[in-house]
Structure formats: C-alpha cells, structure tokens
Amino acid sequence: MAKAKIKFADVNVTVTVPVGTRIIEISEKVGSYIAYNCREGDCGSCLFTVLDGAENLSTPSSLEEATLFAHFQEVLDGWRSAGDLESLQSMMRRENFAGKTCRLACQTQVFGDATVAPI
C-alpha cells in the first residue's frame, strides 16, 4: 500500500498514512487544532493551511471551493467599502482556492508528503 507522510506543524507530529487518507482523519487523532463540525464540506470550520507539498493533496472539489468561497466572503464583506470587490474575489480564488494555501480538512486527501497547520 502506497504511503505518505503528513506533518502537523502545530503539534510537531509527522504521521505516516495510507495514500488517500483525509486530513481530518489524522488531525483529530493527533490533537491538531484544526477544528471541525459537519465533516461534510458544508460548514467550513475545518480550514487549514498547507505549508508545504500542496501538489501532493487532492484537487479541491466544487463543494470545497464553494465552501471556501463562502468563508472568505465574510472577509470580503469587510472590504466592500474599499470597492473593487471583483478583483478581490479573483485574487482570493487565485491565491487560496487553487489548493495553494487554504483547504478543508474533511475534503482533502493526502497523496504525497505535505506539511499542514491550522489557520
């Protein structure tokens, strides 16, 4: 069985897992401070940051992208007064939604080595 190493920076734990394991299955067992509620991709509470190895994680599904977008919408709401909302949204999509930085632990599968941390 192919395996990968996933490091949780906040608890200083590196776990060897079977390829395909979801981040949340490990994070809750090592005490990482990646929160969670619904575990189904709806609530957006299990946000985490990818510090290294983003390319080794599963591609965000449309559900994950939608939830991430809803989460950041709260941030964007605060920037409404600054105008230019469209470009802000584009930036957030480009920087955060393409699997580079922010992901949902309940949706993200591990396919190779990576380092992650809670938001």
Binding site: V11, V15, T16, I26, V30, G31, Y33, A35, Y36
Partner: protein
C-alpha cells in the same frame, strides 16, 4: 398588546409547556414573542411563533394591521418555535419581503422544504426602511444557532434580540416590571442555551453594547423595558471567564480527574501530575471524582485549558461518575481544549479508549493516545505515566515534542 406607539406584541402564550426542546424544564410555561413594527411606509413583522400557537399570532396581528400593509418579515432565528407560522404568514402577505441572515438560507429551505421561497439575506448594519422607522440588522451567529441575528429599531431604541436575553417564563403581564420574579428562568435559560456559546455572546455584545437601548424585546419571556441594560451587563458577567478574573490571563490550567477502585488509577493520576509539574508554567489540580459533585467541576472545566480523565474499567465500561462528568461537558464549550484519558484495569480495559473517543467526540484535542496499565503500575509504568504528563504539559505549553508515528498506532 402595545409595546411602544409603533411596536406591538403579537406573540403567543404557552403556559402549559413543561419541557422545551427535550432538555429544558419550563415550570412556568413559555411565550413565543413576535412583534409588529409600524412605519409611515409599511409594517414589519419580526419573528413568528410555534405552529401550534399560530392562531393566537394571527388573531393578534389582525387586531393591529392588515396583511396588505406588511412590507417586511424578519426572522431573527429559524428554530421552529419562531418560524412555525412563517409559511402561512407568507401566504397571507405575499407582497412582503423576508429578511434572514446569510447562515439561515439553507435552514430556511430545509425547514420549509421549499426551494422557491424568496428572501433577502442580510448582515450587520444592513438596513431596511419603513419610512420614518428603520430596522438595522446585527449578525450574531451561534446565539444559539448559526443563523441567529438581532434587529434594532433605530428611532425607538428597541432591540429585537431573538433568543438572547430571553427566558422561558409565561406571564400575560409581559413586561419585566409587571411579571413575577423570573430571575431563576433568566439564569437557567442562559445556563442551558447560551452558556456553550460564551465566546459568541461576547462577540455579540460588542455589537449590542454601543446601542442606545430603551427596550429589549426577546423571543421568549418578559419584554425588558425596565433597566434593559442590566440584562446586557448580566450577559457580559455570565460570559466572562471567571478564573481569569482571579489569575493572570496567561496562566494555563490543567485538571486531572480520576476515580479509582483499588488506588491504581489514583497512583497513575499522581504520577501524571508529577510529570506535568516537571514541565511547569501552568497550574494543576487533581480531583477524585468519588469525593466531588459534578456541577462545581463543570465550572472549573469551562475555564481550564487541559482536562485529563482517569477511570478503571468495570464490566467493560468506564464508571458512572466519569460518564456523569463527561456528559456534563455538553453544557459548556470544551472544543479545542487539550484532553487525555488514562486508567488501570483488571482483565479487559475498554474504559480508556471509550473515554478518549468521547473526548474527541466533544472536539477536544487529544494529543497523546490514552494510557492503560494492567492492575498495579510498576515503577517502569509509573515512569510512563510521568512521561505522559510531560507530553501533555509540553503540548499545553505550546512546545510539543517531535513525534513520528504510523497511523496504525493512532
């Protein structure tokens, strides 16, 4: 019933209600408060009532307004005791616009099983005009559902607070300066409904406290027109961590609870404490569950940063005082606290894993696998306990030891 010149109470009395939402005792019944606001260019209805009491709601509404006048419907919270009469109200006032919070959108569809409902999502500082009266919305999530919001009638200083500042107390006198003594109900309601969401209460108070408040109109219990700010202040008191009023904010605390049949789990607890003390930098308390009441422990747990629970295994299970303690955690917010389980056992030993699962189920952080020792801990095993204490202590202090583990070990 007139609340002010422009605000009418159009809710319902439910004096015979004795248990609310399965868990809340209501010895005095309850009310489902709904309100009607009249502006120069239309009428707003704020919240509705439980479906079974809809007749009262519509009768009182019809006494003060025509359905054709209703321009605005606001639901501050979609739980069925406030949304029960909504479908019929929308049928009778199809021209009205429904305003709900962002988070309420999916709930609305799930509650009404109708995806064609027209609504407008609103958030903090969004406003809707009734001509000479203005409603301003305050997004106050998790008080006590994700969808909750408050609505502020600016010109009158009336806060339609939803479940916040409410209580289950039925008295047709309605106003806090006229009804009986409802302090018990107010505190009980906070304790059972708002307490797990203290952090969100404090966030909401940041929005509410700056307002000029002449009257608070909650969705249950008395309308607070006499000293309304007293209730706001009480919410802040109840929601502020008490321990940190007594010691420095930076000092973390660890609580170790145990119960022991023959002293073995107790010796484990003591060794774990000794190991944690070697890390230092935080306060540790050791409690024997056999000698304590659960309720005071809940107050301590609420303010603590780490909670370890030790139980022997009897008949393949943790023992009742342990489950009593763990079940009481549902009343408070323990999410994110550091936790762990340990215990001595005789011939099976399921308790530690069961307690650990419960701690994880409560979304506590369990950084190290539970510690189980068969019967009397040897010197080597007591050192394992001390090491476990050091591990948890280091984790609590933000300096977790580096570990490499295989998932099969988790």
């Amino acid at each position: 019933m007139a609340v002010t010149d422009r605000v009418h109470w159009i809710g319902a009395f439910d004096p015979k209600m004795r248990t609310f939402d399965v868990i809340l005792k209501t010895p005095n019944g309850t009310t489902y408060n709904a309100y009607l606001v009249r502006g120069s260019e239309g009428v707003a209805v704020i919240d509705t009532v439980k479906a079974e009491t809809a007749d009262q709601f519509f009768t009182r509404l019809e006494a003060v307004a025509d359905y054709s006048e209703i321009k605005v419907i606001v639901l501050n919270h979609l739980e069925p005791d406030h949304s029960g009469a909504l479908p019929e109200l929308m049928r009778r006032a199809p021209q009205a616009t429904l305003y709900i919070s962002d988070a309420a959108q999916l709930m609305l569809k799930a509650l009404l099983n109708n995806s064609n409902i027209a609504y407008t999502p609103v958030t903090t500082n969004d406003r809707v005009s009734l001509g000479d009266r203005t409603l301003r919305f305050l997004n106050t999530p998790y008080l006590h559902w994700p969808d909750t919001q408050c609505t502020y009638l600016e010109e009158e200083g009336v806060l339609f607070s939803g479940d916040v500042f409410g209580c289950h107390y039925c008295d047709e006198q309605l106003f806090n300066d006229s009804v009986g003594d409802f302090r018990f109900s107010f505190e009980y309601y906070y304790s059972h409904i708002m307490r797990p969401f203290k952090q969100y209460v404090l966030s909401a108070l940041e929005l509410i406290e700056p307002l000029q408040i002449n009257l608070i109109a909650p969705t249950h219990g008395p309308i607070l027109r006499d000293h309304p700010r007293h209730y706001v202040e009480r919410y802040r008191e109840l929601s502020t961590p008490q321990l940190h009023l007594e010691i420095d904010h930076d000092v973390k605390t660890m609580l170790i609870f145990y119960i022991s049949s023959y002293g073995n789990t107790m010796h484990m607890a003591e060794a774990i404490r000794d190991g944690a003390l070697e890390i230092g930098g935080f306060r540790i308390s050791l409690y024997d569950l056999e000698g304590g009441e659960v309720e005071p422990f809940v107050d301590l747990v609420e303010d603590a940063d780490a909670i370890l629970v030790g139980s022997p295994t009897i008949n393949g299970d943790a023992v009742k005082p342990v489950w009593d303690l763990l079940s009481s955690f549902a009343k408070i917010n323990v999410k994110g606290k550091v936790a762990g389980a340990f215990g001595s056992y005789g011939w099976s030993g399921e308790a530690v894993r069961m307690v650990e699962d419960r701690l994880r189920g409560l979304k506590m952080r369990v950084p190290a696998g539970g510690l189980r020792i068969k019967l009397i801990p040897s010197d080597v095993e007591l050192e394992d306990c001390r090491d476990y204490g050091r591990d948890i202590g280091a984790f609590l202090m933000g300096k977790p030891r580096a570990r490499e583990i295989d998932m099969s070990q988790l």
